[in-house]
């Protein structure tokens, strides 16, 4: 399984969530974050803003869905050619997923029930 962490513009969050929902990926966690990229923030006049507000979307998906999900996020979060600040997507591996309410354990090998 893979964890997708996407940092997107706050105004694009709804579009991304809608896009994911329409393709059958309802489960997402959202966090407010602030950060800067390789442009070192934005310089407006004399002031440099290097803690730009962004939203972090986090989801865990099966390996096979990786390209689809990344495509969905890209399609919704991109503002246009050459615009900086549209965000980044990070992919990392997840060994095990547990659902607290049912105790079901999911791994790449399959699912099993964990006795409580």
């Amino acid at each position: 399984m893979l964890m997708i962490r996407a940092i997107v513009r706050p105004e694009k969050v709804d579009a991304v969530l809608e896009n994911l929902m329409s393709e059958g990926f309802p489960a997402v966690t959202k966090m407010n974050v602030s950060g800067r990229g390789k442009q070192r923030g934005i310089k407006i006049g004399d002031i440099t803003y290097d803690e730009l507000p962004k939203e972090l979307l986090m989801m865990v998906i099966p390996d096979a869905d990786k390209d689809l999900v990344i495509g969905l996020i890209m399609a919704a979060a991109r503002t246009g050619e050459g615009a900086y600040g549209d965000g980044k997507i990070f992919v990392s591996s997840v060994d095990e997923v547990y659902t607290v309410s049912s105790g079901i354990k999911e791994t790449n090998a399959g699912t099993e029930e964990v006795p409580s």
Partner: protein, 126 residues
């Protein structure tokens, strides 16, 4: 070592912290987040449905609301992973949907900033 990341109910955080300390896992990182799961529960809709409003009943199950949650993240040695997971599950399970998810991820290295220790030594529980 492994990172155990759990997304749990807001009102279960204190109970979870107490349970973790009791089983000897004291260090953690917590933050607020919002999220949605399979989209099975929407409190407003659920309330409406319980009162018998047809619009609410027909909309059950296709909602897109984000629900406030707490996220906790703990890095533990491999040997403690299972205990951490079972402690969190025991403290948080109510049996209803919305109890949360736990993700177990590999961590390549850990370094304690104060002393420069690396690997399992840098973890408090090792």
């Amino acid at each position: 070592m492994k990172e155990v990341m759990a997304i749990i109910r807001m009102n279960k955080i204190n109970e979870t912290k107490r349970a973790l300390v009791n089983s000897g896992i004291s260090s953690m990182h917590a933050r607020d987040c919002q999220g949605r799961g399979k989209g099975l529960v929407d409190i407003q809709l659920l309330r409406g449905a319980e009162q018998g409003y047809e619009e609410a009943i027909s909309q059950l199950g296709n909602t897109q609301r984000l629900i406030p949650k707490r996220m906790i993240s703990i890095v533990v040695p491999d040997s403690l992973t299972e205990e951490t997971v079972s402690t969190i599950i025991a403290a948080n399970r109510t049996g209803k949907s919305g109890d949360g998810k736990i993700f177990v991820m590999p961590v390549l290295d850990a370094i304690r900033v104060r002393t420069g220790e690396e690997g399992d030594e840098a973890l408090d529980e090792a």
